[in-house]
Amino acid sequence: MPSEQEINRAVDRYADMLRRICMLYMKNEADCEDIFQTVFLKYLQRKEPFQSQEHEKAWLIRVAINACKDLRRSFFRSRTLSLDEIAEPAVAMPSDHREVLEAVLSLPQKYKEVIYLHYYEEYTAPQIGKLLHKNTNTVYSLLARGRTLLKEKLGDADYE
């Protein structure tokens, strides 16, 4: 089991990454808290050591995405709407790049996750395929279609 120091280091190092993944899937902060707790609890319970920092990061991304999907699919959530969602429909976005961020987040789920993983986390299509359990060609298609949609939303001229 990792020590408290190791856990705190992991929280500090990966909190921003998890926050971005939560932003892709979740609409309120309470859900983000749930995802943080679920992911780091699994991290704490993991017995095998990570082979590298890249391995650790990829593992956390996969666990976080699965946790988000599980929470969205959960029985309770599928039949209720939290007060937070009514009061604050989206998580707070930084004002500087609000337009781009809103455009990415407004894409259908299957596009925004590959866009994020490719353009921000710099994973290749085969790596994304492994992370999301998708065929590589499917990932290429999703990336191309997502890019097209994004250009349409943001205007071709500025974002070529």
Binding site: M1, P2, S3, E4, I7, N8, V11, D12, A15, D16, L18, R19, R20, M23, E29, C32, E33, F36, Q37, F40, L41, L44, Q45, M93, P94, D96, H97, V100, L101, V104, I115, Y116, Y119, Y120, R147, L150, K151, L154, Y159, E160
Partner: protein, 269 residues
């Protein structure tokens, strides 16, 4: 597009509050050492507890459930209630003498044999036996195996003792006897007497010794050619008994239950 997307996501940071909450959530799990799922062995604890309780309950039931009764009649009339291991669970007196005797001896949880030896060695009973009083011991209500076992014990305990009768009987008869306030030995002789003298009451039988009752029966049999109840059955138990026993008081006390009860160790004819 690469840069714009990168810059947009770069501006997203986890709130310090969120990090602190996550660390606070994880802290007790690290220090308490209990983040792992509950072990299978821990889940077994309540199941094992239930099994232990069940076994304890079954054990208690096995030990404390009455399975057979030994009726002791001389004039003190009492009954020893036995469990399946032939241990005495309780003693009940069926007349004043019997109750006094039950109170004076500590027979609970003794083996049947030890309890009988204590009873037979007790001053009043020993004195009555010396005066040629009649002692009837009947084992009732147990399984066939227990009845045979206890009957053997009764015969062993009374071996060489004159005027003692050992037998087994059916549970229904004992219930009928108790309904009249009689121990089983007295109930049998009451039934036999009632055939010859319809006026006899259970209260009369309760207060007399077995020998006086037996003598009264013998007198009635000699003086009367036909029993009062000869034309109709005396009770519903007529001939239904399952008892058996051994004894040497042959030819005496022949009533409707004569097949159930044979005397033993009668040394005078």
């Amino acid at each position: 597009m690469n840069k714009q997307i990168r810059d947009a996501f770069d501006a997203v940071h986890a709130e310090e509050r969120l990090k602190a909450q996550t660390k606070a959530f994880l802290h007790p799990k690290i220090s308490g050492g209990s983040p792992r799922p509950v072990r299978r062995s821990s889940r077994l604890v309540p199941i094992l507890l239930c099994v232990v309780l069940l076994l304890t309950g079954c054990g208690a039931w096995t030990v404390f459930a009455p399975t057979a009764t030994v009726s002791v009649d001389i004039n003190p009339s009492l009954e020893l209630v036995l469990n399946r291991f032939d241990r005495v669970l309780s003693v009940k007196g069926y007349n004043e003498d019997g109750q006094a005797l039950a109170d004076s001896l500590s027979l609970r949880f003794q083996s049947c044999e030890a309890a009988l030896r204590l009873l037979l060695g007790q001053g009043d009973i020993a004195a009555l036996l010396k005066q040629d009083e009649e002692l009837t011991l009947t084992v009732v209500g147990g399984s066939d195996a227990q009845n045979t076992r206890v009957l053997d014990t009764l015969q062993t305990c009374t071996a060489g003792q004159p005027n003692t009768y050992c037998a087994t009987a059916a549970l229904q008869e004992v219930q009928d006897a108790h309904a009249l306030g009689l121990s089983y030995g007295k109930y049998r002789i009451y039934l036999a007497l009632k055939e010859w003298d319809a006026t006899i009451t259970p209260e009369e039988v309760q207060s007399q010794t077995m020998r006086s009752l037996r003598e009264r029966l013998e007198a009635l049999q000699q003086n009367t050619s036909q029993p009062d109840g000869a034309t109709e059955p005396v009770s519903q138990n007529n001939g239904n008994g399952q008892g058996n026993g051994q004894g040497n008081k042959n030819g005496k006390g022949q009533g409707p239950h004569s097949g159930q009860h044979n005397s033993q160790n009668k040394d005078k004819s």
